[in-house]
Amino acid sequence: MAFFPPHLSLIERSWYVGFRLICVSVLIFLLVPILVIVPLSFNALPYFTFTPEMLAFDPKGYSLQWYREFFTDPNWQGAVRNSVFIALCSTFIAMALGTLAALGLSHADMPARSLVMGLLISPMIVPLIISAVGMFFFYSRLGLQGTHLAVILAHAALGTPFVVITVTATLVGFDLTLLRAAASLGATPTRAFFKVTLPIIFPGVMSGALFAFITSFDEVVVVLFVGSFRQRTIPWKMFSGIREHISPTILAVATCLILVSILLLVSLELLRRRSERMRGISRH
């Protein structure tokens, strides 16, 4: 360890090695489920374990049939369409409402700030099963249970806290003189918002939107309760697939989802860097 003196005794040396071993095994524990699922999705046989052909790297042991099934089965394709549609709509609502609210919350004069903040982020804290049960009662009463609208609104409510939190974070240290400068140069408040505020908080808005998107895209409890077969999303299909008869198609779907999450992770990292750069400029 960096904080141990250089003259190490044997015990300290073995501790040094042992510590790293522990850490590496924890990392393996974290990554192994993801690493296992990707090769297994190319299995030529409908098994969930490595066949001898696969281990011998025999091309016959591998196939794309589960991907073919995923991309041609209308049932799965409907799920993909539903997932994307519901996630996009709910992200849009969450992004618009969440950004506005974050702007208000960052005002120094916001009344009852902590109470409002507590209310706004409550969808993030309440266990999903409780939100799902509550919304099930609520939307059944309105006759909206089993409609896209209900699922979209429910997901939007779950996604807003993320937008509020990320945008509020980018607004910390936002230089108000920029807005005054814009006003003194003759910009209307709306114009100043689009030309000055929005470009600066844009990374925060986008990363909040990504969080909201993944919240909806990955969410299954609320879909199970508020939705029905017509609102089936990818996680909904996976959930019922695992419960009824697990087919290797699920592994192919899972591999595609891992790709999506890598893309999201990379975009978030780029946004974070951009935000640091933008705010670095605004400070000078």
Partner: protein, 427 residues
């Protein structure tokens, strides 16, 4: 300073500065609040109202009053604590109510509801509902008594307990779902609430198991996450960031993908068992049962929640200067005692934040226990879902939900005291 008390400061157009400032401030307050209003309204209507609706459902009991309105009125005078049966008008009202209820197909529904409180009532109401019209005609033609006819039809109408249930649930607001959710029972005669015998306690045991497994998962994530966070925090930032990405990748991967992979890894014909058999550690018959039980839930959920422990630990450890440890060692402390007395105490805020986060998330988990928990590794949330979709006892589901929510809010309040809501950060 004193000038403010003697002169009133004025603006350029001659108004009092104080009043103008006050007005301006009020306008800014309004503006800030207006920006928040759309989301606030959306969250209150789309989220808080559904939760309140659940709260209402957990105490709501209009079904008896709606289905048997005359009977409820007739039973007002009857003393449920005594041993006598209600009088003839009560029986007559019941017969009348049940004929109408059967017409609207509500008699069976009512019986099912009352069966949660007193078993046997479902069949009594189903049977009585079906035959009530004939019985009423019989009484009318023979000018007989409803009381005698009904008791002759089904002896349970001659038992005071059946009537006590009706009288009890004439109230529109009852706490009985909560008593059921806490494994308690209200005596029909004395109205005393008592705990069920320990064999019949389903929910308290399930709550207990949920808490114990969640604590186990929290401890496991702490034991695995602490060394990893320590390592990442100590590495130069380039390598550290790379490792952090490895922690974030599972964090961003779909929950169902990770649950699926644990099923693939842990099942009896799965990767780990195959590997152990191939290596020769296990025999073909001795394959381990690592999934569809508590073990499966603990392993899969520890994996899923581990990033929630590593990230806050890492961000706290990153701020602890390594010179503290060096100072302690240079002053003669043994590295272990320096670590324990100097480094470890500074990581406590991170441990608190991570542990409470993991615990809150774990206690309300539904999907993973449902898929990998089998019969022994399920949580209270699975029971709530069961009552919503299978047993259709929505009131009990709502009461269990409210109890769980209360528990989570209590822990969340603790989180706020220790960490502060404003310190929630993402990524």
């Amino acid at each position: 300073m004193s000038s403010t008390t003697t002169f009133q400061l004025l603006t350029a157009d001659g108004r009092a500065l104080k009043a103008v400032l006050k007005k301006h401030k009020a306008r800014r307050k309004r503006k800030a609040f207006l920006l928040v209003t759309p989301l606030l309204a959306f969250v209150i209507v789309g989220f808080c109202l559904p939760i309140l609706d659940m709260l209402r459902r957990s105490t709501n009991n209009h079904i008896v009053e709606k289905t048997l309105p005359r009977t409820v009125l007739a039973l007002k005078e009857w003393d449920a604590g005594g041993t006598t049966l209600p009088n003839e008008p009560a029986f007559a009202s019941l017969a009348q109510d049940l004929v109408i209820a059967q017409h609207h197909r509500r008699a069976t529904q009512l019986g099912q509801r009352l069966n949660y409180e007193f078993s046997g009532l479902a069949s009594l109401f189903r049977r009585s509902g079906r035959h009530m019209e004939e019985l009423v005609n019989e009484v009318r033609s023979t000018r007989g008594s409803y009381k005698e006819t009904l008791i002759a039809f089904d002896a349970r109408w001659g038992e005071t307990d059946s009537w006590r249930v009706l009288k009890r649930f004439s109230d529109t607001l009852v706490a009985d779902y909560y008593w059921a959710a806490l494994d308690m029972r209200r005596d029909l005669r004395s109205n005393e609430v008592s705990l069920r015998p320990s064999k019949e306690r389903i929910y308290l045991r399930l709550f207990g198991r949920t808490v114990v497994i969640s604590l186990g998962i929290t401890l496991a994530t702490l034991l695995l996450g602490f060394p990893l966070a320590l390592w990442i925090a100590r590495l130069p930032s380039g390598q550290g960031n790379l490792l952090l990405v490895m922690v974030l990748l599972p964090f961003w991967t779909s929950l169902l993908v990770r649950t699926t992979s644990w099923i693939v890894l842990l099942q009896q014909q799965g990767v780990i068992n195959d590997l152990l058999v191939a290596v020769g550690i296990l025999s073909e018959e001795g394959r381990l049962r690592m999934i569809y039980n508590t073990t499966g839930t603990v392993i899969a959920m520890t994996h899923i929640l581990l990033p929630f422990m590593v990230l806050p630990l890492y961000s706290v450890m990153k701020t602890i200067s390594p010179s503290y440890m060096r100072a302690a060692v240079s002053l003669g402390a043994h590295p272990i005692s320096a670590f324990w007395k100097v480094y470890f105490p500074s990581t406590v805020p991170g441990i608190g934040a991570g542990a409470i986060m993991v615990f809150i998330l774990s206690i309300g988990y539904y999907i993973t226990p449902e898929l990998v928990g089998g019969r022994t590794g399920v949580f209270i949330s699975n029971r709530i879902a069961y009552h919503i979709s299978s047993s259709l006892n929505w009131g009990l589901a709502a009461a269990l939900g409210v109890a769980l929510l209360g528990f989570v809010i209590a822990i969340y309040w603790l989180y706020d005291k220790i960490v502060g809501i404003d310190n929630i950060r993402l990524g």
